[in-house]
Symmetry: C2
Subunit: 336 residues, 2 copies
Amino acid sequence: MNNREFKKGNTVFFKNAPRIIAGSAVCGSKEKEGIIGSYADVTLDDDMYGETTYEKAECKMLKTAIALAIEKGKLEQSDIDLLISGDLLNQIISASFSARDYNFPFLGVYSACSTMSESIMLAAMLVNAGYVKNAVAATGSHFASAERQYRYPLELGCTRPPQSQWTVTGAGGCLVAAADKGVKITSATMGRVCDLGVTDVNNMGAAMAPAAADTIIGHFKDTGTCPEDYDMILTGDLGALGSRILKDLTWEKGFDISENHVDCGEIIYKVIESEFQGGSGAGCSAVVFNSYVLSGLQSGLYKRVLFAATGALLSTVSSGQGESIPCISHAVELEF
Amino acid sequence: MNNREFKKGNTVFFKNAPRIIAGSAVCGSKEKEGIIGSYADVTLDDDMYGETTYEKAECKMLKTAIALAIEKGKLEQSDIDLLISGDLLNQIISASFSARDYNFPFLGVYSACSTMSESIMLAAMLVNAGYVKNAVAATGSHFASAERQYRYPLELGCTRPPQSQWTVTGAGGCLVAAADKGVKITSATMGRVCDLGVTDVNNMGAAMAPAAADTIIGHFKDTGTCPEDYDMILTGDLGALGSRILKDLTWEKGFDISENHVDCGEIIYKVIESEFQGGSGAGCSAVVFNSYVLSGLQSGLYKRVLFAATGALLSTVSSGQGESIPCISHAVELEF
């Protein structure tokens, strides 16, 4: 940090090093079978979570994640200055309806599956500047609500193409604070929209990989770092195919991330074959980052992590009107 | 500003006074007949704007507004550090597809019809902190794309209830910069989600008025000001009925804003009767603020304006599942 500038390229450096003082994760019945099962705070047996609709279940998961992040940070609701959240549902209703239960301000964001890194980045910016002391960044998704909004009703039993991914049922949040303890957020790289013309809505990994490459390479250049400087370069939900494309794209530009790249979507499920390319959705990186990865950062297992979740900024209407898929990736750099 | 603290309550004070150095507005054929017709930069004869779909027309308006804001600020695209934008369409496609055309970073936000004030607030926060020098805040809406997404296909010819409003076809943007000239942004009040249980999706004014009252009263208390201190207290799209409710709610709390309250939705159309309660939509405050109001601030006609747009954070799914309408209002204080 010492001789870095305040901002270089699209990367902002945080002089006051805002901290993640707690993280929380709620995951569904399928997700708990995998790697995050023993790290998540709440694991569901029934993905309806006692609610009458998928959307309400998704909202309840997000509410639980927000409440848990505050509780695990040993703070009260009255200590929280701001909630930054968004989700995949139309008009981000999970986030808005979660915010309704709280008395603190709410900043709604939308960045598809990169919402987790966008909201952490924004929280870090506002905490670092001194505008707020404690901010919660959170997001989530639900397989069933995403399927019926973006694809087909589950009852239709449509077959899935081999390049498809499985939307994660889960929510995660973290508490970003001006504190002395916790995982440092040392910089953030703001993403640009990249669109290389992919139109296949079942192949999000291929669509999103260029955005991840753009932000990750930009981050390396702005910070003067190389892949070896990080214990982990974490993407959100590129999946197996998208991760391979990302490695190729970065390798072409002279950065070999193959040794330390990890994709949340690729590692979340126990048997990846049955979910084809792996997990996806805003909840994918939210649960993996806020449980498995954060605990590694908190324990010192990882000294430095670059977290760059990716989002596909399409809608059913844009795809229906023949548009390709614009994508984005925002990155945050974390240190033990 | 002198003896104010950095943050009080939910209000952040900007010591470096980020400035709005330019604003732009594009409006539709119906909107140009009204008060903003002579202030808007581009007025359309055909609301399709040469495109094949309503959504593409909406996106083109937003793109034009962004380009115009940069041009009117006498900057190049390469000078811009960030675009903050969102809109009413599912997955904010107008904003994302607009951002695709540019090489600078994009922060997607969603705050329904309060997107204009949320994005100006966020731009001011990031500029004031020194993270970015020049940021564009922009949003828009289109009557036809909103009708078919939120209500009914236009071809159905449904009648409109008397408490309904008319979604504005238009887009507006402004350039928020660390500069010596321009309209000062002196503070911003972050909104909380308010939901008093209104479930009538045709009566947004009634649903949103409590959120506006909460933020405006919070702003008065945090800043130690009273309604008389402002030349204009501007709301976004409460409409005639919602504005009356807002005046009642603030009056009950000891703040009489009846003398200087102006609602963008109430003033935008020439003959308000035919649009019932007036205009609405993210584009409503975007075009009125960035043309009519901003020119008044630039000329010194208004010395001090409080701009608090409101957003109804519902979706067709949430309403269909019996939920009431959570609302929010973010406010920015502007000085000549």
